[in-house]
């Protein structure tokens, strides 16, 4: 059975990579629609007292979210395959050693810590949700964002995806495990319309990178519509 592809109306996009991608289609640069950067994430807009609690993943996500978020409250969908895995593993280590667990690690390790901190920093009272759906987390998070937008198309929905390398002993041998984040503002009138492919476990390219390649006009299973 085949379905018509989901088409996402997008207002603007941002991406950030810990290391510059080898793919020339993902070179750093901003074109008015997509702002792609690498190196040190820019989180200077976050208050110092909260900034110190931001993990590398949260910094990557905030860098991107800050570049596409509209002024005022905005509904948000956050997605990540592994979330704050570094912090979870550190907690598990402490538990295994029967050491006391760090309260900071505990409170910042939950999957919704990124959108939670975002809402605190911005005083944003709009609803948010956090998605984890295995290797397809990027796509399923987008489905959630599109569903939220379809339910109420009068305001845009901020979609933020981020993933980090899994820490030892679960480090992912595949190049999928690179630290990066993507933010998409789903809304109309769309600057770009992107048709989303179904989940394909055989596709060697992470969905997030396929999406960015399409937004840069390159060949991808994702298609500009």
């Amino acid at each position: 059975m085949t379905y018509a592809p989901l088409v996402l109306p997008l207002l603007r996009a941002a991406a950030w990579f810990g290391e510059e991608p080898a793919d020339p289609l993902l070179a750093p640069g901003a074109d008015g629609f997509l702002d792609l950067a690498c190196g040190e994430p820019d989180v200077a807009f976050v208050d110092r007292q909260l900034r110190r609690r931001l993990s590398p993943l949260a910094r990557a996500c905030f860098h991107c979210a800050h570049r596409v978020a509209p002024a005022g409250d905005v509904r948000m969908v956050f997605a990540s395959r592994h979330g704050e895995a570094d912090r979870t593993v550190a907690i598990l280590r402490d538990l295994a050693l029967e050491a006391e667990v760090s309260p900071t690690l505990f409170s910042m390790s939950v999957h919704n810590s990124v959108p939670g901190l975002w809402s605190i920093i911005n005083g944003d009272r709009a609803p948010f949700s956090a998605v984890a759906a295995g290797a397809g987390s990027f796509g399923w998070g987008l489905v959630e964002a599109l569903a939220a937008f379809t339910a109420d198309p009068s305001a845009p929905v901020l979609y933020v995806y981020g993933d980090d390398r899994l820490p030892d002993p679960w480090a992912d041998p595949a190049p999928r495990g690179l630290l990066h984040a993507v933010a998409l503002l789903v809304g109309t009138p769309a600057a770009r319309r992107l048709a989303m492919p179904g989940e394909d476990p055989a596709d060697p390219l992470p969905q997030s990178l396929g999406c960015l390649r399409a937004l840069r006009g390159g060949p991808s299973s994702w298609q500009l519509a």
């Binding site: 110092r48 007292q49 900034r51 110190r52 050491a99 006391e100 760090s102 309260p103 900071t104 409170s107």
Partner: protein, 94 residues
């Protein structure tokens, strides 16, 4: 049983424990309140600091100690608290 550390060592310990990335020891006054209106630390920091003090200096802080809040008020009061209750570092570093 006590444990002598300097205010500078306590400031370095607080900065390292709480990840106060933009702060130097010189920027923290010995008598500056650490919480709320002073340095701006919060309740999670207090818990984190309490556990770190226990791990590093084996400080035995009784939770029902009515003066616990006062012990944690400033760098100077923490140094005095460790001097009275600390039992030497389990993890090396001094």
């Amino acid at each position: 049983m006590g444990m002598v550390i300097t205010p500078l060592e306590m400031k370095q310990f607080i900065i390292a424990t709480l990840g106060l990335e933009d702060l130097t020891p010189e920027a923290i006054g010995d008598d500056e309140p650490l919480f709320a209106e002073g340095l701006g630390l919060d309740s999670i920091d207090a818990l984190e600091l309490g556990i770190a003090l226990r791990k590093r200096f084996q400080v035995q802080a009784a939770e029902q100690d009515p003066d616990l809040k006062e012990h944690f008020r400033t760098v100077r009061s923490l140094v005095a608290f460790v001097a009275r209750n600390g039992q030497g570092p389990l993890e090396a570093g001094t």
